[in-house]
Subunit: 290 residues, 2 copies
Amino acid sequence: MDGLETRELRYFVTVAEELHFGRAAERLNMAQPPLSRAIQQVERRLGVVLLDRDRRGVSLTAAGEVMLVEARLALDAVEAVARRTRRAAAAQPALVLTTKAGASHELLKALLDAYAARPGAVEVEVLLCEIGGQARLLRNGRADVAIMHAPFDVMTGLDSAQIMTEGQVAIVPAAHPLARRPSLTMAEVSDVPDLPIARWPRHDGTYPPGPGPEVHSQSQLAQLVALGRTLLVIPYSSRAWQWPEHVSVPVHDAPLATTILAWPAGARSAALAELVETAEHLSQGESLAR
Amino acid sequence: MDGLETRELRYFVTVAEELHFGRAAERLNMAQPPLSRAIQQVERRLGVVLLDRDRRGVSLTAAGEVMLVEARLALDAVEAVARRTRRAAAAQPALVLTTKAGASHELLKALLDAYAARPGAVEVEVLLCEIGGQARLLRNGRADVAIMHAPFDVMTGLDSAQIMTEGQVAIVPAAHPLARRPSLTMAEVSDVPDLPIARWPRHDGTYPPGPGPEVHSQSQLAQLVALGRTLLVIPYSSRAWQWPEHVSVPVHDAPLATTILAWPAGARSAALAELVETAEHLSQGESLAR
DNA sequence: TATCCCTGATACCCCTGGGGTATGAGTCCG
DNA sequence: CGGACTCATACCCCAGGGGTATCAGGGATA
């Protein structure tokens, strides 16, 4: 009876993102009429109205919102089929590990070294990604395993192993009075009038309201701290990327940050299993001061 | 450059399951030549050989095995798009809860009653499934939430909440000497010569080797116990489906069985959240004897 | 060894349906 | 009221998905 095609999912997602048939068609390298028709066809087949086309543009219905989320997941899964199949056929197997740039430096290095020393070790490629981008890379097959951080990253739909738990430090401008304190509390850092917490874009690209500066990359953030405009609280081990103009101060009562190795649920590669085992082994010795 | 179509995934999965182009084409309601061609096309596009066609039939290459697993997941995800979108548009929202037939009777009833008593409760449809079938129903959108049992069910890729932990009992034929014992140990039940553990089919339909009878449903198993051919160890609360010819005996050192409420990772329905909350509330009182 | 059968691949044809262009229809704005 | 904008409709074309007929190679069996 039904059965959506990948092509139809791509069309719908593009239209839902653009909320404009003309622009969506352009992004899809096709003309607008067949795109309109294809969407209508999907709506007829599902028996569901996905888009409200009334005066002043196009908008998603409630069902359309659901379909957008589900369709993105499905497209990721389809993408993963091709990518993982190709990888499986590649002459020399390899693992792709992804992590946020600048985080868990020492741990990553130690893990790579320890794993490489194992007899059957395969090559491990490191793929740096945007903050919060690891899960998607795992879902669509671009990466096999990720280093993530609780409670910051969402790990739904992934298997995982905890590697390390550690305290957090505040990164403050060296010139600021707080920089001279031996330690701080969450209450002290969360409400500093002249150092408001930076705001990151939401999934739809808009920013939450608030006094802090808008940022979308770590380097921006680092620069803003150096300029004395904001501060941030990060896990102890992430302090590697601090500048000379930064000072890190332990925050006693910050929630513990956990470094986690995560991989797609049900992954069955032997190389991955060995890497995870190495990490768990490693984590027994490790334990950075709180 | 690439981009597999749903149709191509369906074709490949069918061929990979049948390992026979003719039969696969029949199942797909099409002729064999276009199917052969479609698979070749996929292989060319991916640049990967998926099937070995040599003397005496067709077999999967290593890459083909990977593709089979991934393609099934992707097809489930695509199926879920249509199903969840339709459900989202349905006039009255509802939750579909799935569980193994016969397991967690009382708990299920208590959960449904407690949830139904809440102000905003929606209708909860119960979908009974084969053993181990819950995860798939969640993935392809046929169900919203499942009652599962650790350590028996695989919960990869799902979010979950523990509801109840309980001891296990051995279900033995009433006529057997073990039935008169007040309690048993794992060592005693795991190696009874005249009551060998039953064997369940693997995913590929074959059975693991061993002395026990082959079964593929709970009713078969119940009958075999009644006939004095096998025994089984199940959570205390699952004893509901025992027959008059069965006797349940506590097994002291059996691993604790945990009843778990699981749902697709990242599900965002308010009704589901309420059900989970109800279950967690419920679980505070509950605590069946070990 | 010759023959048959079984199975997948190839050759070739047909026609569905996905995509294009032209244009209509409704809405907002100056 | 006319123009600009945007999505829908009308209509055409052809790529490609699917069909039939047939080939090719490897076992079995006599």
